[in-house]
Assembly symmetry: C2
């Protein structure tokens, strides 16, 4: 095999597929990127058996062939080369030479045949949305996913539910739920799948396009496939039933607040001053009286107290929360003002907008400590 | 005590003196910043017994007094406050209230009398140089100081030697020496002291001024004092004799190279690709033949080889170095071209300019491995 590509094009491709290279594995071949120049184009592939990514890069095939090269090593070499033409050449013993200007690097590759290729999956009609929208959706929901929760595999994923022209994404932890409803440009047949959180996070790192650049999403029995630009990402779906959450939602509330988002976020962030590592779950108290919201935290270190003006509907209320849950939700809401709906000090608080394009549900903490 | 300052002024002051707050100590009072408003100005002080820093901040003294407050806590509170007026007030039981807009924080301070004040030291005539020059001097030399080398206290410091109108700074490790010679605006009496590397590094973080902003340096028997803007830094000197290095320098060489600094630095940096954690001391080989410099590294991972054009004077030479030592030195040299002077493959390489404003001495590695 012998190919010639520009350093920048090669680096772009390596950076994209590297997202599917496992950080720890006992199978050395999984740590490789496959360079496939056996056909008419140069294709890079990585595959950790959960997610596979392949991308086509521009370049000249001087001699057809295929080779697998350690991903970290290939990335480091290309990154440190000047932006000039890079030639990658290998012989039948997998001895690989990378040449750029007066630089010459020799390493030993692995046979391309040993590589686990991405499964070839028949595709139906895709669901289409913009790269910007998908990236935003991921940012606004996946922080709720407990990736390490191996006890319940379903909780490491996010529900993608398509009903007509709406894509609903739901991520859930025992103490909170994050929901986004996205309007699509057209209607699609109903779908309901659980996508691994890891897949969504990796995808969002390589989606660099804007609102004009599209992603095509294909759903199959066991896989979800994202196609955009010159790149294809294939991920396994999570098997199982997602949690039934509809019974939690009603339009009843006893207290509704409208408050400036930035002010509320900054005040809650200040309340974390008193949260040290010893007592990470120290809650803050919200006391709502007429048109004032008072936030308070006290600990062995001292006390902080702050007042914010709000527009209130309904009853006064004293309720307590883990500040991190509020901070996470408020950070990904782009509105200038937010509405909080509460029933009592034991029931969850709903942060949502009028047409429910977002709903963040946060459980309160028992007040008895104060 | 009751004082009112702007948040930005208070934060600036806290950030400056915090550089003298020890990260680990058994004496809680050393973790504090002293706010001294007992006189006509507001002075912040921190002191870890090696370095002491005090700075005067602008503000209004509503009631004279003095209080010590945990440095990390004070910094965190002020940092998270909006840029508005901050009032700090304490009662005779050291109960302290910090108020900013509608935010109110209560903490317990410590009696100012318990604080270890910075020693009052009689000053002679200062040596004067610009903040920019001192900051650059620190950047260009202190990387050579082994701060953790407790076996030899002298090696944790840097020689400051004043002879006439020249300040010579020397930092030394067993494998390298870094020297800078600075021309001063006027001549001073001879001086020779060893300044702790830590002091220099902390100072350079708070020297924000340019070539027009001056630092006055006072030398006493046991201390060095830096005065600039509204800030005074007092540091102990290191007791002992600095290493005699003059015998190492001669103007003889067998091989002299002139080479583009950026190209050499990038090539050596690339050679580190083959240096993994297992073999951190893997050297690179420089082979000088006529007007070509070839750099090579080989390891169990593979080989890298690269040619650079140079202007050579004298003999061909094959010599081997630890790449990190070269990279450190080349990074802090601002010249476009550098000159390397070498005698043979066992003798140190000198990187220096014509008038010796800088001299970097690097020991080679034994070649037998290749």
């Amino acid at each position: 095999m012998k190919i010639t590509c520009s350093q920048s094009e090669l680096l772009k491709g390596v950076n994209i597929v590297s997202k599917a290279v496992p950080t720890r594995t006992t199978m050395a071949i999984l740590e490789c990127i496959l360079i496939d120049a056996s056909g008419s184009e140069i294709k890079l592939t990585a595959n950790d058996m959960e997610i596979g990514i392949e991308t086509v890069i521009e370049g000249k095939i001087d001699e057809k062939g295929i080779i697998a090269i350690d991903a970290k090593f290939l990335g480091d070499v290309i990154r440190k080369c000047p932006d000039s033409d890079v030639v990658i050449e290998c012989d039948e013993k997998y001895q690989t030479t990378i040449t750029c200007e007066t630089i010459q690097v020799n390493i030993t590759g692995k046979p391309g045949e040993d590589f686990s290729n991405i499964p070839v999956i028949p595709r139906n009609e895709p669901v289409i949305l913009s790269q910007f929208t998908l990236r935003e959706l991921v940012r606004q929901t996946t922080f709720t996913i407990t990736e390490l929760n191996a006890n319940n595999k379903v909780m490491t994923g996010e529900l993608f539910e398509i009903t007509g022209d709406t894509l609903k994404a739901v991520a859930l932890e025992p103490v909170r739920i994050s929901i986004r409803n996205i309007k699509l440009k057209e209607s699609y047949p109903d779908k309901k799948v659980i996508v691994p959180g890891k897949t969504l996070n990796e995808i969002s790192k390589i989606l660099t396009g804007g609102t004009e650049d599209m992603v095509e999403i294909f759903f199959t029995e066991n896989h979800i496939i994202f196609e955009f630009d010159q790149t294809t990402v294939v991920s396994r779906l999570i098997d199982g039933e997602f949690f039934a959450i509809n019974h939690m939602f009603s339009s009843d509330y006893e207290t509704k607040l409208r408050v400036n988002k930035k002010k509320l976020l900054e005040a809650i962030d200040r309340s974390t001053l008193f949260i040290t590592k010893d007592s990470e779950k120290k809650p803050f108290v919200m006391e709502i009286e007429e048109n004032t919201l008072e936030l308070r935290v006290s600990s062995s270190y001292g006390r902080i107290k702050e007042r914010i003006d709000v527009a209130k509907d309904g009853k006064n209320l004293k309720i307590s929360f883990n500040p991190k849950l509020f901070i996470d939700a408020l950070r990904v809401i782009d509105d200038e003002e937010v509405s909080l709906y509460m029933v009592n000090h034991r029931s969850p608080c709903f942060i949502k907008d009028e047409n429910e394009s977002y709903i963040y549900v946060i459980l309160p903490v028992n007040l008895q400590d104060e």
